[in-house]
Assembly symmetry: C2
Homo-oligomer: 631 residues x 2
């Protein structure tokens, strides 16, 4: 069934332009690169500079703070961004040097060739000059394969540098105010003080972490997903039959990575899926994931029963040769599990899961994703596409949480993990969904058990169903908790969930909300260095360095805008109050008055408080204590 | 120090008007009243009606759903709202009938009389005709006092009806789809299937719950705060020296209760605090809390050191005679604890706490709140004002979480709880603040231990410091968790926290966010009936009853607006898709297709799935199982 509701995509490569909002450096920030053991390993970070603290002795410097940066070259004013050309293939020489791949004479997917030969598409096509690559016959080009053979790839070294909060270990050493951190509770994770390239290799070899890095996406900056690393977040973008254009979707991607998206999934189900994806991948410094069954379904005009293994297989190759870094494959939706969903409140709410359930029912056959799983592995390992084993039977309501169908599928995903590992294909596991708070931990515990610690990648979970319009929040609560328990990547939910296709504003709201969830999970796990940013921001807040407080936050623009609604004057940026409490009622100002008062008495603040005051205080404790001790 | 930044409040009682947005009934909702044992016990609820479900056999009715309603008469089209007259004093006859109070000849606070006699204030003054009341000599008029003497007050019966999800027990009995609920995990709470008036009395007598119900606020609808009841939320409003007017603040109150605020704190620190509060109380159907030290400080022009017990005492009487239902008193900020804050990142961040610390330091004396605590109790019990013992030393940054100062104060609050209980004065305890997720439970555990299960009332806690502009979210994560662990009331945080004075939009955003936190806590605790609304909404969602889905949500307006951004046509309200996935990719539609398909085969859906499919499925499990069992 074709819908008539969709408007034509008038996008052309001539009109393609980068979103100017996405290429401004963030306030008081500059891109710095930390070099590894070789000049071509240059790890980008965002350095936020701070103003000085005024003290009675003059001024005191506040060091710049380094922040993990997902925005790629976009926020580097030195970079020459042209989305019609795409990003530079930073990893290309690394891939070539391994000598296990070959350049293809042409695309090997039938569908890709069809699209390439369709002259009607010339105007909107991204003109990639670089030919696609594939593993040489008999070769396996996955990071897992290298890791298991003891090879530390440049990708792994890049990641080790990127994951470390280097400043915590070096220049901030001894600065307790910046580096003090509460010991975490990590539920059995193997938290490292220093992340070495060897540790990265070992975690990948163990299957406990993945590096989504298709050899046909050399533009990507290596990143890792695993519970012993920083918690990551994914942003879903993509058009639907009812709207959006290629330009819109590229802008959602650049907007998502500006605010902290670690990976982006292109879930397009509308027009020109192939071309949309090409534009996104060529311009993305973060790994791109997809759900290939969506495009396969479009190829059979939405008739699930007409899907075949051959169409699906061709779609995998098409997308692998474009450079997709991970595929969601709903191979755990087995025929036997579909009846388990019959008494559910909301049935099957995964799009891929419902498509496969429909196929299984129509044919009364086991899912071809399951029966052909080893062949899928063969394709994945020739390009290093990672599995994201889809939770097609995740609960879509609180009512359906943690039911038989959900956990039956999870167990199957565990079996499939071992199949993939046999092929040295990287795997992560998708998780729910809608789950009340007290039932979240069971999901994590069973996932670790069934899937042998393969990284967990969850959507939320949403902790209630009663807040359409606010499901970024209902789900952030669950996401923060499951991140703490051990989930490696959190798939964002936007405020539009259940209601409509997210736009750019929704993407940002979803990203910031999930950066919060991921960061509070890092803090709770005690990830080394995670608290530096909190400490630096709190110090700025206490010292009324308003601009530093804004700039160190996840969204400097909104913080400044909120503050300036009532106090727009530049002078208010050093004022010892804001409009919330006014000048007489700012507790931080009063606390500083107290400390200044102590200083004027000729004592250091601590002495004054601990010595003079404490003595007086003790008198009163004794005296005052009596008042109530009789009770 | 007076600030010149404030603009004059041009509000007059002649210009006062109700916010028209606050008096519309919510969509498809009507106010119903459930009568108790007497005709004057009429408990309001919001009844949301639903449309029918289309089935192959015709249509199936969906019952109306009752929702706990904090909006008072405002959403009742039958009520005649005139904010210049204020709300009716529903509780007046109950208070009179107890015969333990007397009508005062005039206000007994010096300051109140001064304001009453100030002719410059006539134009803005609320003209209350009803005289203030006070306990007769030797009498104690607290709900705790009655409870301990075995008296079930009308307030207690009202609350029992209000807290019960009556429908779950009666008309929905047997309707599993609506009433099924996951068993909760309640960490030792005494969860009741049916809340009786006697249970309410018993919990109040035990000190485990409070009913904030000043005899001078008869306009209030009784509500309860305790861990064995629904989790409540509070909204902070109030002007600051830098902005807002009486009209604005009354509108924030009516807006807050429309969206679900269970209590409102008037934290005004700017102009005309006395008159602002009067307008708020006279028009509020929910309990009003204040922090009297704020107004006391204004009376000494912001000079903390000039505060005296006499000024504070007069302020308590002033506010008690206006009808404030609970007072935040920072009596736990003892002189000896102030030095413990010297090495903190952010010092003392409670406004009241910092004011008292400054006073203690200036005088080198124990806090007068602590030394005069029993006299404070004497005042409270004469009007039934409840204590909200303030956490003046709560942490203001992740760095300062769970430190010595914080827990020293908490221990003192526990001592003071017993002092208050000795006087039969109701008490709840305020809690933090900024706390990483893994350190939240310690706060709850120590509070239960030190304060002998007196209700906990927490601000957030915020789980990270790095998101100014989004602290409603950083704190909702902590609030949901601590609510689950046992906190009885959650004080909202708005997006403007740390940045500026919240406006009406911020109030709504804070309220909805905290309704989410409170509700997910109820679900996790397994509060009986809590899941009905989730179930009803999910059923509507699955059946594409879009309007029902919006109307059952916490914010029908926003849900509808988001949906209509892309599909505004009325026909889309019954469409089997939205713009997120489009017609071919809606998983719920596909699931329904699957079920329809089964039905067409002449089998009931469950039979089809369980019987026919399962048989086929089993064949494949056996066959397919072999594929991977060898691994």
């Amino acid at each position: 069934m074709k819908t008539n509701l969709s408007s034509l995509d008038h996008f052309t490569n001539e009109s393609a332009r980068v979103d100017t909002a996405a290429i401004q450096p963030l306030p008081n920030s500059r891109k710095v690169y930390i070099q590894g053991t070789r000049p071509d390993i240059r790890v980008p970070m965002r350095e936020v500079s701070q103003s000085d603290t005024a003290t009675s002795q003059g001024t005191e410097k506040n060091p710049p703070i380094h922040i993990y940066d997902t925005s790629g070259p976009y926020t580097d004013p030195g970079a020459d961004i042209d989305i019609r050309r795409g990003l530079a293939g930073m990893r290309e020489p690394w891939i070539e040097a391994r000598g296990d791949t070959e350049v293809l004479g042409g695309l090997t997917s039938d569908y890709s060739r069809e699209r390439m030969n369709d002259t009607k598409l010339s105007a909107m096509r991204f003109n990639l000059k670089r030919p696609a690559r594939c593993a040489r016959t008999g070769m396996n080009v996955t990071q897992l394969h290298y890791a298991r053979r003891g090879i530390i790839t440049p990708e792994m070294e890049f990641i080790a540098i990127r994951e470390n909060q280097q400043q915590a270990l070096t220049e901030f050493a001894g600065n307790d105010l910046l580096t003090k951190q509460h010991p975490g509770q990590n539920f059995g994770a193997t938290t490292q003080k220093l992340i070495t390239p060897e540790f990265v290799r070992d975690e990948v070899a163990r299957g406990r972490a993945i590096i989504p890095a298709n050899i046909n996406h050399p533009e990507s900056e290596p990143m890792i997903i695993g519970r012993n690393f920083l918690v990551k977040i994914n942003a879903n973008i993509g058009n639907s039959a009812l709207g959006s254009s290629i330009q819109d979707e590229v802008e959602k991607m650049t907007w998502a990575i500006r605010w902290g998206g670690d990976t982006v999934m292109d879930l397009s189900t509308g027009k020109n899926i192939h071309e949309t994806r090409e534009w996104i991948i060529r311009n993305s410094p973060v790994p791109i994931g997809t759900v290939p069954i969506y495009q396969a379904l479009e190829k059979v005009d939405g008739r699930a029963e007409e899907l075949t293994w051959e169409i699906f297989r061709d779609t995998l190759i098409e997308q692998a040769e474009q450079g997709v870094d991970y595929f969601t494959i709903h191979a755990g939706v087995r025929l036997a599990y579909v009846p388990m969903t019959a008494k559910r409140m909301t049935g099957i709410v995964s799009r891929g899961g419902s498509i496969m359930a429909k196929w299984c029912l129509a044919h009364h056959r086991e899912s071809f994703l399951y029966t052909h799983f080893e062949e899928i592995c063969e394709i994945m390992k020739a390009y290093d596409v990672s599995f994201s084993l889809g939770d097609g039977l995740r609960p879509g309501s609180i009512y359906d949480a943690n039911d038989e169908a959900q956990f039956a599928e999870l167990k199957t995903l565990g079996e499939l993990t071992h199949v993939a590992w046999k092929h040295d294909v990287q795997v992560m596991i998708e998780g729910p969904g809608h789950v009340p708070m007290h039932m979240i931990k069971e999901n994590m515990d069973l996932q670790l058990q069934y899937c042998d610690e393969a990284p967990f990648y969850t959507l939320g979970p949403l902790t209630t169903d009663i807040a359409p319009g606010y499901d970024h929040i209902t789900s952030a609560i669950g996401a923060a908790m499951i991140g703490w328990y051990g989930t490696a990547m959190l798939c964002y939910v936007t405020p539009k969930e259940h209601l409509g296709l997210p736009d750019k504003d929704d993407v940002k709201e979803g990203i910031i909300t999930y950066k919060i969830a991921a960061h509070v999970a890092d803090l709770a796990k005690g990830h080394p260095g995670a608290q530096i940013r909190d400490n630096a921001l709190s110090k700025a807040r206490f010292e009324f360095r308003w601009n530093d407080q804004f700039n160190l936050g996840l969204d400097p623009d909104k913080a400044r805008e909120f503050h300036d609604e009532t106090l727009p004057q530049e002078g208010a940026k050093v004022a010892h109050f804001c409009s919330m409490c006014g000048p007489n009622f700012c507790s931080m100002k009063i606390t500083q008055d107290v400390r200044d008062y102590a200083a004027q008495q000729g004592l250091s603040e601590t002495e004054a408080l601990e010595d003079g005051m404490a003595r007086k205080a003790n008198e009163f404790v004794e005296k005052g204590g009596e008042i109530y001790n009789k009770l």
